[in-house]
């Protein structure tokens, strides 16, 4: 940065957007945004859901046309709007969050798909496709079988295939949309290492991520969007995660430890719990009204442990005690009957029936309790109970008859919570409840968790963010490689120190 020659090179702009706007049917998704990417830089695009990040990517990759009045300068050429082929010709490649791969085609076919895009009747240049794919995999040093079907690869491998495809198309500017969302800690490290290497090869990379620590660790500069407008462009040097979160939300985020000592009234006691290949010798205790955090990277065995507590898969060894009585769940109905509720990580696919009304979703978990003679459910109960929960959890919904899918993400989360709280659980297990939720909404969820605990429910909060656990839990356990390594009380050790242990891989 200090060398003037290098400074000049860095200033060379690959992409320069000035005053770019985009409206969808009267809604302005982007409002006069400026955005520049320099040659060979890693640039982070930060912002909450709905801040305009995806719209920006779609303008640059040619999916949408911007409103008139803005300017797109790409490698020195000015465009009114870009078409997808133009964007590709200018070296822009987007690696979408869903990777956009073909699960039924081979690795080579996915990487070199460009070779079959033109000339329908021409033969497939199999040999050339394999050569292209091999060259790129070799360059990056990955030994993935060229003939393997992509649907059979792990998520991390698929990510690499997606990146290779971008490079095969001669990318000079690579957009990566939430590339780390479904990777384990080690895989994230490998990916970040790869991004760093690509940059040294002269590529510019724009990183879109929710995970602020990653962003700050790897990017040179960060552009923050909020409500479709550009808040500013900042060097990452000297930027803290907290400051970045404040810029993204416009809220002041108050750190704070909420941990408190609760009366020693154990609800759940686990000892020696083992499920081979998933977790081993887990022991912990949970008190009434306590929030217990389990922190660890994806793949640490936390979700598997939760599934066992919820009766979904049986342990090979060990005991589970609820309110002093030994239990052995044959299935999750038994677990629910014993007072355990579980909110899965993927709330959209596993927790809710999206097209169904809010009210029916809430009573779904207690139909057995509501039903009278001949399985008939009195309409009053079907409405009264959900109405009470909507009120109590402050769910914003026009009426109980609105389909859940019309609600915002944060409110959907509340509906799932209501559904499980209606079962009057002793233990509520929340698996990564804030994944994909905006920072603003996250705050609401943390408050809700505390409130539920104050009502006497014991809560297990599974998360991969140390800061989340520290600002919500009374005690926090750290899991890694299937073992529970330690249990700490927030405040007795600092969040930084604990986070250091979690992220030290």
């Amino acid at each position: 940065m200090s060398d003037p020659v290098e400074q000049d090179a860095l200033d060379r702009r690959v992409l320069d957007l000035a005053n770019v706007s985009k409206s969808f049917g009267g809604v302005r998704a982007l409002k006069g945004v400026d955005f520049t990417v320099r040659a060979g830089e890693i640039h982070c695009l930060a912002g909450e859901n709905g801040s305009g990040k995806s719209t920006l990517i779609k303008l640059v990759s040619g999916v949408h046309a911007p409103d008139p009045g803005g300017r797109i300068l790409m490698n020195g050429t000015a465009y009114e709007r870009l078409t997808p082929p133009q964007a590709r010709r200018e070296g822009i490649q987007v690696i979408f969050q869903d990777l956009a791969l073909f699960p039924n085609l081979s690795v080579a076919e996915n990487i070199a798909f460009d070779h079959v895009l033109d000339g329908y009747a021409s033969p497939v240049p199999l040999r050339r496709m394999r050569r292209t794919a091999r060259a790129i995999l070799d360059r990056l040093g990955f030994g993935i079988d060229l003939d393997a079907e992509v649907g059979r690869l792990s998520i991390a491998q698929r990510q690499i295939v997606a990146i290779c495809r971008g490079l095969a198309a001669d990318a000079r500017l690579l957009f990566m949309d939430e590339p780390t969302a479904s990777l384990t800690g080690r895989e994230v490290d490998a990916l970040l290492g790869l991004v760093e290497r690509l940059r040294r090869d002269g590529l510019s990379i724009v990183f879109v991520s929710h995970r602020l620590d990653e962003v700050l660790g790897i990017a040179d500069r960060v552009t923050v969007l909020r409500d479709g407008a550009c808040v500013g462009v900042y060097p990452t040097q000297g930027m803290s995660g907290r400051r970045l979160a404040e810029l993204m939300t416009g809220l002041t985020i108050e750190p704070g430890i909420v941990a408190r000592a609760v009366p020693d009234d154990p609800v759940l006691r686990v000892a020696g719990l083992t499920r081979r290949g998933e977790y081993e010798d887990i022991a912990f205790m949970l008190r009434k009204g306590e929030v217990f955090g389990i922190v660890g990277p994806l793949g640490a065995g936390r979700t598997e442990l939760a599934l066992t507590l919820f009766g979904m898969n049986r342990p090979h060894a060990g005991t589970i005690e609820i309110a002093g009585r030994l239990v052995r769940f044959s299935d999750n109905r038994a677990a629910i009957a014993a007072g355990i509720a579980y909110l899965p990580e993927d709330r959209l696919t596993q927790g809710l029936n999206l097209p169904q009304p809010v009210g029916d979703n809430i009573v779904l978990s207690i139909l057995d309790r509501l039903k009278r003679a001949f399985g008939f459910i009195p309409p009053k109960a079907r409405r009264g109970i959900p109405a009470a929960w909507v009120e109590r959890l402050k769910i914003k919904v026009p009426s109980l008859d609105h389909p859940v899918q019309t609600l915002s993400g944060g409110n959907q989360q509340r509906v799932v919570l209501a559904k499980w709280l209606a079962t009057a659980p002793r233990v509520l297990i929340l698996d990564s409840p804030t994944v994909g939720v905006d920072i603003g909404n996250k705050k609401g969820i943390y408050e809700l968790i505390r409130e539920i605990a104050r009502d006497g429910v014991a809560v297990i909060l599974i998360t991969d963010e140390a800061s989340e656990a520290f600002s919500t839990c009374d005690r926090v356990a750290r899991m890694d490689g299937g073992r529970m390594i330690e249990q700490v009380v927030p405040g007795e050790i600092s969040e930084e120190e604990f986070a250091g242990r979690v992220y030290a891989r």
């Binding site: 999916v63 997808p84 082929p85 590709r88 987007v94 979408f96 869903d98 990777l99 956009a100 791969l101 073909f102 699960p103 039924n104 085609l105 081979s106 076919e109 798909f113 460009d114 079959v116 895009l117 033109d118 000339g119 329908y120 009747a121 021409s122 033969p123 497939v124 199999l126 040999r127 394999r130 079988d145 060229l146 003939d147 393997a148 079907e149 649907g151 059979r152 690869l153 792990s154 998520i155 479904s182």
Partner: protein, 340 residues
């Protein structure tokens, strides 16, 4: 792993992409087992004459199934092909009988009719964004009822000689005195099989078809023109349907408006039995051929065993169920293997 050499060496039976001992091998084993069972129970089953017979009797179904398979591969489905085949057949027959058109013009007009009607499907599905099953159920009804209204259900019995004259490519008299004839139906079936195999395995259009079937959104983003790919798939099915229609009237010597309607589910079943996934992107032409062979052998074998004809459908239904269970178990295993 296998290189191109390995791929080519497996020859015509190689599914698209790389060779995997999947559905095709299980099916081939099943076909062999069935042949053994029937062969032991009914000695005539294994004769060359009978084999040629049973393949010929399923040639029309086979050509339709190969066409449907291409549409399935691209992630669509079609129910209207039998109606299209009937319309194409009747249009051609009318032109030949009433207008006295020459053979090539009649065949050309028949094929063009099939392609055109099928492209209407593609248009409805792609441009009007109607789900393919809904669109083709609607056009099936529209095409077929229009045909019935137009013809009043009357068949054309007086097809010209050139149309119904037997075309035999190879003829052989066995020691037992049986005459084995490889005629037009089998040859056409093999030609369509080869064409389908080449189309999906070795052309760029075929790769794009498979890409659209595998992940349509991804295909669109990478620059595949989905509309054109759909037109290729449905156009090909239309061509196959028309050809099947003409061939059917060649075999029975007349054009009957409602002769082919009602066979739709058997045809789709044959394609699915051959490993084509209803969710798109999977399967091979060889698998479809084996599926056809299996159904043909079942029907033929049961006939020779004098099983009453209404038991056919029961047995065929049971075999289909069994095959689907096996296929879906395989797919689940794949999905589990790549879990998050």
């Amino acid at each position: 792993m296998r290189g191109e050499a390995g791929h080519m060496a497996t020859g015509m039976l190689a599914p698209v992409g790389r060779w995997r001992p999947g559905t095709e091998v299980s099916l081939a084993l099943l076909v062999l087992a069935l042949a053994a069972v029937f062969g032991i129970s009914v000695p005539t089953f294994l004769s060359a004459a009978n084999f040629v017979d049973l393949v010929e009797s399923y040639s029309v179904t086979g050509i339709l199934a190969l066409g449907v398979f291409v549409v399935l591969l691209a992630g669509g489905i079609d129910i209207s092909f039998a109606a299209i085949a009937s319309v194409a057949q009747y249009v051609a027959a009318t032109l030949a009988v009433t207008s006295g058109w020459p053979p090539l013009a009649v065949i050309g007009a028949g094929l063009a009719t099939g392609v055109a009607l099928s492209l209407v499907n593609a248009f409805l599905i792609e441009r009007m964004a109607i789900p393919s099953i809904i669109a083709t159920i609607a056009t099936m009804t529209a095409y077929f009822s229009t045909l019935m209204a137009w013809t009043g259900g009357r068949a054309i019995y007086t097809l010209p000689d050139w149309w119904t004259r037997r075309i035999v490519f190879w003829r052989h008299e066995t020691d037992g005195g049986d005459i084995v004839r490889i005629g037009l139906p089998i040859v056409l079936l093999l030609v369509i099989f080869a064409a389908t195999h080449l189309l999906i395995g070795y052309t760029r259009a075929g790769r794009q078809l498979r890409a659209v079937g595998g992940n349509a959104e991804a295909a669109r983003r990478i620059g595949v023109r989905i509309g054109r790919v759909q037109m290729i798939a449905y156009g090909y099915l239309g061509l196959c349907a028309a050809l099947a229609g003409l061939l059917q009237s060649y075999r029975v010597g007349q054009a009957v408006p409602n002769a082919m309607v009602g066979s739709e589910l058997n045809v789709v079943a044959a394609a699915v039995l051959g490993g084509a996934s209803l969710t798109g992107g999977r399967g091979s032409a060889a698998g479809v051929m084996l599926g056809i062979l299996l159904l043909a052998m079942l029907q033929n074998g049961l006939t020779l065993l004098s099983v009453p004809s209404f038991h056919f459908q029961t047995v065929i239904g049971a075999v289909l169920l069994l095959a689907l269970v096996v296929i879906s178990r395989n797919e689940r295993r794949v999905l589990r293997g790549t879990g998050r």
